[in-house]
């Protein structure tokens, strides 16, 4: 590359730098500019583009970065990817796992089985290296582009300055051919934990920094360890630190994670011979392997106070960060993208007021708080901060070997689940008395098998009025908003009974209003046009 930009090595070169006319013109205005080509930025660009909203994505690299990084993708993420047409290769490539074992020293404390409930298209989790996840999103973007989606990816484009004006953000972008300027009606910062957009705006994080270092060693081996998550407290092997993790990825790669403590020499710890000594001790004698990728990381549990600043919105790690325990980083970022895309699309189309974007901050801020709470609790269990917390932690682990009750205290990360937007402004009333709690207003719809396919396949990213054994009223003048109607009859559409169990409970019939991101707005035993219209208006931040 030329002067001004040195690209980092990539796993997959997905969007090579190419000169574009913008570079030879006065600052051109774009409707949406997404900064950052990680999982969140790519998902957001894909979602917006499929909706027909023009989106330009700038990334300083030319593809997916190196290293496995995020490896655990949760069911909700796969559901979102499926809606975006990107999930099939993820499922084909990913490793499905259900069993986890927790050890304390040499002893197994207990094992758990996620036992995913049947009747979902997607498994509870897959393990997949982040570069593959990004590559499959880019593949889906290429497919969408071929079908006319107005998405543009510019690799080798680094944002080097940014100011916010009354109705747009102005950017300076540096490329191998030098700098150029452009403008964005809406700027979405998906540029990660070290967000340069956040720095340009002088915005800060609030929360806790945990003083601990973790070593990741991804090793390639064909040894016969099972496809399970193994976690050690006080690992018995030499030099492993205070905790350790072993977890399978595709391509015969295994994630090993060692908790090293705070006062370490990072460079020395990354020396291959030192890494190999640790790995040898963990895997035991005679196991052959190659080191695929190593990294030392620290983490924070913190968030920006607000994710929206005028015309600039923050998503994913740029907006909030958690510890890796619980797989709540990338998974929550994908939920950010899922939440923001439809709202921004409606605002751009003039169908909703821009105050709808404030609900993105409220809803995903609430999600971030929930993730930070779980993540902080897991971290406090993993790394006791005082003598007495160490005493209780060890007491729990000792009791858990013999008594089931104590296992519920053992916390090596509570695995990511979608956040429900209870009580937030867009969420409507729950008029379905004794309806199932898991599908209450605010919650993400739970998948269920239908006679043909799955329920979530029928919620295609627009507002949906779902009737279960209930007639759907005629609705006219829905504020220009597309409202799909989906009438299901449990006698014929619900072969397993799961649909009724998950959406009716004890009720005989129900009507659900569902958002484009598949969260429930409101539900009723039967619905009048007026109530539905009022709920829909509320869900797009229209007054009254």
């Amino acid at each position: 590359m030329g002067p001004g930009l040195r690209a980092d090595p990539v796993s997959f070169r997905l969007y090579p730098y190419a000169r574009v006319p913008d570079q030879d013109a006065p600052a051109r205005r774009h409707a949406v500019v997404v900064v950052g080509g990680g999982p969140v930025g790519l998902a957001l660009a894909l979602d917006l583009g499929r909706r027909g909203s023009p989106v330009l994505l700038l990334d300083d690299n030319e593809g997916a970065g190196q290293g496995s990084r995020a490896i655990c993708f949760a069911k909700r993420t796969l559901e979102i990817a499926h809606r975006l047409g990107a999930a099939t290769p993820m499922l084909d490539k990913g490793v499905v796992w259900n069993v986890g074992r927790v050890f304390h020293g040499e002893h197994q404390v207990f094992e758990f089985d996620l036992q995913p409930e049947t009747g979902h298209r997607n498994p509870a989790f897959i393990n997949l290296q982040q570069p593959y996840f990004e590559r499959f999103l880019v593949d889906a973007i290429r497919t969408a582009q071929a079908e006319g989606a107005p998405i543009e990816l510019r690799g080798g484009n680094r944002v080097t300055a940014m100011t916010q004006e009354a109705d747009h953000a102005a950017l300076e972008v540096t490329t191998p051919d030098g700098a150029y300027t452009l403008e964005a009606d809406w700027l979405i910062a998906c540029d990660g934990a070290h967000s340069s957009i956040r720095d340009f705006m002088g915005l800060e994080f609030e929360g806790r920094v945990f003083e601990d270092n973790f070593l990741i060693a991804d090793v390639r081996m064909t040894a016969g360890f099972p496809t399970e998550r193994w976690f050690w407290f006080a690992p018995p092997f030499e030099g492993a630190g205070k905790s350790a993790l072993l977890h399978k990825q595709p391509d015969d790669i295994w994630r090993l994670d060692f908790q090293l403590g705070w006062d370490i020499d990072r460079a020395a710890e990354l020396a291959p011979e030192k890494v190999r000594a640790r790995v040898d001790a963990m895997l035991g004698p005679g196991v052959e392997y190659d080191l695929d990728w190593t990294s030392v990381y620290t983490f924070q549990c913190r968030r920006m106070r607000r994710f929206r600043h005028g015309r600039v919105l923050f998503a994913g790690d740029a907006a909030h960060q958690v510890s890796p325990f619980g797989a709540r980083g990338a998974n929550s970022g994908i939920q950010d993208a899922d939440n923001l895309a439809w709202k921004l699309d409606l605002v751009i189309r003039g169908l909703a007021p821009d105050t709808l974007l404030d609900s993105y901050c409220q809803e995903r801020g609430s999600g971030a708080d929930e993730n930070i709470l779980h993540s902080t609790r897991a971290t406090d269990f993993l790394t006791p901060k005082s003598e007495i917390s160490q005493i209780f932690r060890d007491a729990v682990l000792g009791l858990a070997r013999r008594h089931a009750f104590a296992r519920s205290f053992v916390n090596s990360g509570r695995l990511s689940e979608p956040c429900a937007y209870d009580g937030l402004p867009l969420t409507g009333a729950d008029a379905l008395t004794d309806g199932p709690a898991r599908t209450r207003p605010g919650a993400a719809c739970v998948d269920a098998p239908l006679a043909d396919g799955f329920l979530l396949d029928r919620l295609p990213g627009e507002f949906v009025l779902l009737g279960l054994n209930a007639p759907l009223p005629d609705l006219a003048g829905m504020e220009g908003i597309t409202l799909h109607r989906l009438a299901l009859d449990c006698a014929t559409d619900d072969p397993t009974g799961a649909l009724a169990a998950r959406y009716l409970g004890a009720a005989a019939q129900a009507v659900y209003l569902i958002r484009p991101d598949q969260h429930v707005v409101a539900r009723w035993p039967d619905a009048q046009a007026g109530a539905i219209t009022a709920a829909l208006r509320r869900a797009i931040a229209l007054k009254g």
């Binding site: 007495i388 005493i391 209780f392 060890d394 007491a395 729990v396 009750f405 104590a406 205290f409």
Partner: protein, 62 residues
Amino acid sequence: MPLILDPNIDDADGFYDELLAAHHGLTKAESDALNARLILILANHVGDRAVLRQALEVAREK
């Protein structure tokens, strides 16, 4: 049911003996660990979060 703060154990002296006897011969670290296990076992037996919260409050009074 609120936290019971009136006498509730038959033969309180006998229980107190047993409590101290359980710690007999233990180091400070071993005693701390025993206490922690005992708290967790009893807390699970109580189960009721409101009662447990009340117990924590009472215990924090000096």
